[in-house]
Amino acid sequence: MTKDQTIGEALRARGVSRRGFLKFCAATASLMALPPAMVPKIAAALEKARRPSVIWLSFQECTGCTESLTRSHSPTIEDLIFNSISLDYHHTLQAASGTAAEEDRKTAMKENYGKYLLVVDGSIPVGNPGFSTIAGVSNMDMLLETAAGAAAIIAVGTCAAFGGIPYADPNPTKARSVTAFLKEYGNRLPNTFTVDETGQTDPVDVTNKPVINVSGCPPIPVVISGVLAHFLTFGKLPELDSLGRPMAFYGKSIHDRCYRRPFYDKGLFANSFDDEGAKKGWCLYKLGCKGPTTYNACATTKWNEGTSFPIQSGHPCLGCSEPDFWDGGGFYKALSTPTGDITRTAVYAIGAGAAAGVALGALNRSKRAHMRKTHSKVGIDDLEKGDKS
């Protein structure tokens, strides 16, 4: 596939009939949670769209997001989408390595300056640039350098979107999400900056680069490809929520779409794993389900091509698409319970209260005894004292 072909031409060249192309467009519309009536518009847009260059940078991550998206032994619709883009750089998937790979990246950046999509997975450690490096370049520098000419950044996975597991207490590497990193360091010069690299002579302030957060640990594969498909079709990013996530997939909470909701409403809960309630498929709120405060498409789109999702398989939702879900008070602690040890606090408080009460009581008694001895009378002022409360 040459870079100048449109997607329509590229598919035709691969022997895909127009019928096949329309089937692909229908699947893409479904992916992007768009109504079937949009299919002709998507077909028209994709036919004319040029394949954008995509650079994928993997930082402090576990590679789960890449695994989620690309099942290496069974390509899916995601594969088709990847064939519609020019994935110019990806550590796990590319064959090249070392200097050759880095040269590929720099060439792609230069040739597509201002137009390429930058996909980031993993968080960025700022505690010490040496904590995570690629080809000797720190994550901080690589992101600053590559973000300069990007049209937009897609932060894939909760690590890139919100910090994820490296960000969890105590955050030893001082990991940052893409957005947090850009806000703090976006106007700095990467250490790798050389004047003639991208044709720029001044450092580019990337603080306000558009970032779309595709959170989840990992994100549902169709969500990743849905965002890419949206960008391919419409040339811009979809509508985002207050945390920068696409509304189409993160607009509703798990709780609002969960098929076990009728049990929550009726007050029928599983009390432990594998008890009667659990076997009957009752609500998992008591087992710590974070469904009420988690926004993702798991309850409708589900996983493994619509097979199931954690709650359906009997495990409470972890809230993995939300910020700080690792520090959310415990996976198996219900949302309505305290995070600390309140019982101990209450016991200490009773002790302290008893001591204070006894002390004050003794004080009151001695005051009363004194008043009796001196035959003090209760006056109108004493009576009105209580009245002012």
């Binding site: 019928r19 329309l22 699947a27 009728p262 309850a299 789109t301 199931s308």
Partner: protein, 134 residues
């Protein structure tokens, strides 16, 4: 072949339902009336509707199978059947690896993908021409 959901879906017992089955069938009914009276076609994307385990089978069972079954091979296998209610079609699309990429209920005379496409006809005409010239 259609509609077949893997047993993994049945692993969770319980009568939990989203209650979306009846409203969906009503939507189909209204679309069918619109087709009859105005010739308006409707496509319902089943992936966009939250359905509990077993609910999709209920829908498929209710709609049943009619006289026509179309098996298509374009970017992977697809099956489109007319249900026992003429004008109501159910389609299941898979990619080349056999994974499901789309499930629809179409209320129309014939699903659009079954019809031959103009670009393909043009291409085929060219091919036939060169074949006849040999």
């Amino acid at each position: 072949m259609l509609p077949h959901i893997d047993d993994a879906c049945h692993s969770v017992p319980g009568s939990a339902a989203t209650g979306n089955v009846i409203p969906l069938l009503h939507e189909v009914r209204h679309a069918l009336q619109a087709l009859l009276e105005q010739g308006a076609e409707t496509v319902i994307d089943l992936r966009a509707i939250p359905l509990g385990p077993g609910e999709e089978e209920r829908i498929a069972e209710t709609l049943g199978r009619g006289e026509v079954q179309v098996s298509m091979s374009a970017l992977g296998p697809s099956e489109l059947i007319e249900t026992r209610y003429p004008g109501v079609w159910m389609s299941l699309h898979r990619n080349q690896e056999g994974e499901v990429i789309g499930r629809y209920i179409e209320i129309c005379l014939v699903p659009s993908l079954v019809r031959s496409q103009e670009a393909d006809i043009r291409y085929g005409l060219q091919e036939l021409d060169s074949r006849l010239q040999e």
